[in-house]
Symmetry: C2
Subunit: 356 residues, 2 copies
């Protein structure tokens, strides 16, 4: 009828432990935070006493006594408001607020996503600031590995978001299963499609630097699904120069004039909103348009009907969880539940985009 959640209040203090181990609380404290200056013998007695009494330190007392502020450094590319990285940034800030009463603080370090140098510069800044933990999306693979190696040596835990490298020491990862998101995209696009689908893949991208790029996996997932289900389907890439936004309408005009029967449109990055105005201005019965990520502009495109479906992952949740996990680890010494956390892929339509 009535159940209690939470261990009964143990009144076991550090002094009880000390008494049982026949030492003073100072000594107990030293072994608790293994900062040496304790003989092996009494260290063992203390550990035994802790085990015997099932002692766990009082969080408040501890937090009160060490009024140290753990700072969590969050690195990410500078970005325009409303863009993907900006959402991620918001998540960092939110996460920071959520844990602010645990004596943790979030510091955000931004760099130029097209300039590895600026990333490296920021990295040394972060190292110099001696953070309690670091969160970052591994944009530049090599530079990131160099950086995280240093972090590891300095004993600073770090968490990947967005995508993930395969090094050994990261504490956790939060992100989307990119391959599967492409697969899902193809399914949603072609579900109940009667004939052989023709798909336009719109590609607006800067010339690639040597960055890790999640859209590659996504594209692969998409292709694989299409291969499996519609071997005869046609997938046509439409390239648009990002530096010439006016070009968009022209290119699409040309394309759809040539391919009037293309009913399926996708984009694998978060920029579907760039083509939304054109699509809305040129409506086609039965056309399906799918994009990624819950940017504000994308959400608008969704509610306006220009976009049919958005595959999203609660960008903010991703980064705020990363911060929370790190803080839990650093101040509460709580190991993360899972190391690799693949976020759920949300399917957004105009009818369920509210309250997202």
């Amino acid at each position: 009828m009535e159940t209690s959640v939470m261990e009964e209040n143990k009144n076991i203090t550090i002094i009880d432990v000390a008494r049982r181990a026949g030492v003073s609380k100072g000594t107990v404290d030293r072994v608790l935070h293994n900062r040496g200056e304790v003989s092996a013998k009494s260290a063992e007695k203390v550990r035994q006493a802790i085990r015997d009494l099932d002692y766990e330190p009082n969080l408040y007392a501890s937090l009160l006594a060490t009024r140290k502020n753990h700072v969590i450094a969050c690195l990410l590319p500078r970005s325009v408001k409303g863009e993907y990285w900006d959402k991620l940034r918001n998540g960092f800030v939110q996460g920071g607020e959520a844990v602010s009463n645990l004596g943790a603080e979030v510091k955000i370090f931004e760099y130029d996503q097209y300039d590895p140098e600026s990333f490296a510069a920021v990295c040394s800044q972060v190292l110099a600031s001696e953070p309690a933990g670091v969160v970052l999306p591994p944009l530049f693979k090599n530079d990131t590995l160099l950086f995280t190696e240093k972090l590891h040596k300095a004993g600073v835990p770090y968490v990947y978001v967005d995508s993930r490298l395969e090094d050994e020491h990261y504490l956790a990862y939060f992100g989307m299963p990119t391959y599967r998101s492409g697969y899902l995209c193809a399914y949603l696009l072609t579900e109940r499609c009667q004939d052989v689908p023709k798909v336009a893949v719109i590609r607006i991208t800067r010339d690639k630097t040597r960055r890790s790029d999640p859209t590659i996996d996504r594209r692969a997932g998409f292709s694989d699904y299409m291969q499996e289900m519609f071997p005869d389907s046609e997938i046509i890439n439409v390239f648009i120069n990002p530096n010439e936004p006016d070009e968009i309408a022209q290119v699409l005009d040309v394309f759809f004039a040539e391919h009037p029967d293309v009913r399926f449109v996708v984009m694998f990055n978060s920029r579907i909103h760039l083509v939304a105005p054109y699509l809305q201005a040129h409506p086609v019965e039965g056309r399906r348009v799918i994009g990624f990520d819950d940017l504000d502009l994308n959400m608008e495109a969704l509610s306006s009907g220009a976009v049919t479906v958005l595959i999203a992952q609660h960008t903010e949740a991703q980064s705020s969880k990363a911060v929370a996990t790190l803080v839990d680890y650093v101040v509460l010494h709580k190991e993360p539940g899972k190391r690799d956390n693949y976020m759920h892929m949300d399917i957004l339509t105009s009818l369920n985009q509210e309250n997202y």
Copy 2:
């Protein structure tokens, strides 16, 4: 390049305030918790000093000093493992764990969902236990109103989950927009449907007590959509006795024999898993089956292909957020951001059900 999130560490203690107000910290403490025994004059001086210094009490110190445990009472119907109410219950427990280091504790009170008496009995238990806050789904309207009125008089804040009554004093509400979920369901069911859809609505329900029932709104949303989009559509109710589980197959056999052209199947409560085995055993090309809620059994039905889409709302998130909000309010004195929190409706398919 570098931004700090969080106000700088204010070292202003209660003593600073006391000094500035020309009183002792005891007095400051009294006005802080307005527990009287302070003259109007010095109370005002203290308040002024607090404002001047922008003082806010140190959470840890406070928590350490009062090792009182705020208990949050969570009421809900007893239920089988894996059922809807059990998920809600899990959310309560999770929420309790999440805030356990804020000196809060969750106590769960269960009653018989078909017996208002048992609910009333539990209510008085809760009242007697003098909780710091209460979370409950308002199953029995009248009894709930009676109860919450008493809570309000006793100064105990309460939060609704699942559904909501229109009384004045609830602190917050967390739940699904039921009408819209029915609307969404109809959309997902009939999207890209070429001809006039015929829908089987399967209804397995106990004889109704005077409970508030979210499936009514859901049904309404569904009907409205169908009316709008397919005025000629046919919606056929299929009633099944919940007390005769073996009956399910028979009834469905009869039904589908009579209506071989029905391709659309929905259920508005969380029990779609009950018919999943039958549907899987009798596959039909192009059939679409939609159910509600992320019960484990429903998820299995989804991955097996018996169910096409599940409309869910992260049941656990709903209840754990309710707990978190209440605790924030009670121990941190933080007002809830929004009063009515409609949870996002998640669209689950076999391809995105993982990591949910």
